[in-house]
Amino acid sequence: MTQLPSSTQKKLGLVIDLDTCVGCHACVISCKGWNTENYGAPLSDQDPYGANPTGTFLNRVHSYEVQPPNLKDGSKAAAQLIHFPKSCLHCEDAPCVTVCPTGASYKRQEDGIVLVNESDCIGCGLCAWACPYGARELDADEGVMKKCTLCVDRIYNENLPEEDRQPACVRTCPAEARHFGDFADPESNVSILTAERGGMDLMPEQGTKPVNKYLPPRPKDEAPEFDVLAPYLEPIAQDAKGFVGWLDKTLSAMPRGAK
């Protein structure tokens, strides 16, 4: 069914914290690991050990350099490196769903998760054309569309211990940069994080109304110059006497010695 539900009971999704992501790609690996052996067709690789390896991933981490404008005193602000994990944003107005000719793509009324029914998918690729975020990849071996499932086979899975009933990427992130929850509940962890940290939409002008929110990096330039180690790095003895003094003078006098 490619008609979008007018509203969903829950709005499950992720908050991704661009301030704390360290760019380790652990979520990329755990996502691939879980999803290649669970729900749906495996995530194939082509020429994995050869010269041109490619493969299907549901989550990838970009890195961007951001150059803030010059500071008030005219001096150049430091550039920032921001790691940027990207998986399906489970959009409320998902264009990938409405374009699908077969009904393979759908958005669940109960929790808002956008899924592909792989046995209906003809692999036309139109849904990937319609997604502005590059969140869908056609698997080269299976010829069906793959995308983030929000780990639907983990979050409701009673065979898993309680703490594992969350997406693989969230569970594995060592920096806790990914959070999973229900955006329809204003008291949920993700709603509170979004409100407190100014969670934002990617490409809001595309009108997709993404459920996933990104937390912007905290401002860096306003932090005062502060270095906890500085006091300990002061030279202890400025004018050494005796043997140490002699050693200091001799070493300094040697060619290329520190003065």
């Binding site: 069914m1 490619t2 008609q3 790609h25 041109n52 490619t54 991933f57 990838r60 981490v61 970009h62 890195s63 961007y64 350099e65 951001v66 150059q67 803030p68 404008p69 602000a77 920032q80 921001i82 990207k86 264009p95 409405t98 374009v99 699908c100 000719p101 077969t102 009904g103 393979a104 209906d120 998918c121 003809i122 692999g123 036309c124 690729g125 139109l126 990937a128 054309w129 319609a130 997604c131 502005p132 590059g134 990849e137 056609l138 698997d139 080269a140 299976e142 010829g143 069906v144 569309m145 934002m200 939409d201 990617l202 490409m203 809001p204 002008e205 595309q206 990104y214 912007p216 990096p217």
Partner: protein
């Protein structure tokens, strides 16, 4: 976008095929008996051949029947239904012609079906917000003009063909010129894509993978772009100017054939450019265009 041969062949030939069927349906020429067989054979070969070519890019063509189900939201589904409806109606009309019966009303319905099919094809592209160059009324206008213009050329409707091809040439020029700025005017850029524009200038520092992937292969085609100015001239010359000049010469079967061949080559080039020049916004995440 990746200019895949299957979609270029599909859009070119099914457009021409349905264009020829349009004129046959309207009764611009009324061939009977074996003549009808020949005309309808050419039209069906192009229309159906194009549709078959389009299934070559499917991962699971054996499930194609499912693609007729989602007409309520999907232009691709609507296109499939429009194409099958039109081919069936025109098939009945052709059968009549084969036995010497002209069924004017059936032909008229078929002709409308041809326009609907070409229009729904164009909307598959024009609906995509992710490709600002395509999301414009000039996309369906161009598909329709090329279809009935090329169809008129095939059907030997000299005056109509000259007029339609002239309009199409001007229209295509406008589509290129206005399309060139549409991505930058769309408001989508690396700043909105990452949401980091509020901090400062954003630059793609490192892609997520060292090799290529489906997204780059399918959506980020930049290679042929540098020849686009030259290819645009070739397109205008082959698809429009040469056929118009050849039609203006005193009629001659050889010139007519040459006009048709030039036009087909020109439209193939035009469609190559249609895909190769189209910028998908996902390229922004990779710092491309």
């Amino acid at each position: 976008m990746h200019p895949a041969p299957s979609v270029i062949i599909f859009t070119t030939f099914s457009g021409l095929g349905f264009g020829l069927l349009f004129w046959l349906g309207l009764g611009a020429i009324k061939p009977m008996g074996w003549g009808a067989f020949l005309w309808f054979f050419i039209a069906y070969a192009m229309a159906v051949g194009g549709l078959i070519a389009s299934t070559f890019h499917l991962g699971h063509p054996e499930r194609a029947i499912k693609a007729f189900s989602q007409w309520q939201t999907s232009w691709l589904s609507r296109e499939g239904i429009a194409a099958v409806f039109t081919l069936v109606v025109m098939g009945i009309y052709a059968l009549g012609a084969l036995f010497g019966v002209h069924m004017g009303f059936t032909g008229f319905i078929g002709a409308i079906g041809c326009l609907a099919t070409v229009f729904t094809t164009s909307m598959i592209y024009a609906q995509l917000k992710t490709v600002p160059r395509w999301r414009h009324w000039s996309t369906p206008a161009m598909f329709l003009l090329l279809s009935i213009g090329g169809g008129a050329l095939f059907a030997g409707q000299v005056t109509v063909a000259i007029v339609l091809l002239l309009i199409a040439a001007v229209m295509q020029y406008f589509a290129w010129m206005s399309g060139d700025g549409r991505l930058s005017h769309s408001g989508t850029n690396l700043k909105t894509a990452t949401g980091l524009g509020t901090i400062g200038e954003v630059r793609a520092f490192e892609p997520p993978h060292t090799g290529t992937n489906y997204l780059l292969k399918e959506f980020v085609h930049v290679v042929g772009r540098k020849h686009s100015a030259k290819l645009r001239q070739i397109t205008l010359g082959l698809a429009f100017l040469a056929p118009i000049l050849l039609l203006l010469l005193p009629f001659n079967h050889f010139f007519a054939l040459l006009a048709v061949l030039c036009h087909v080559a020109g439209v193939l080039t035009l469609r190559w450019l249609f895909f190769a020049e189209a910028e998908h916004v996902v390229g922004l995440y990779y710092g491309k265009r």
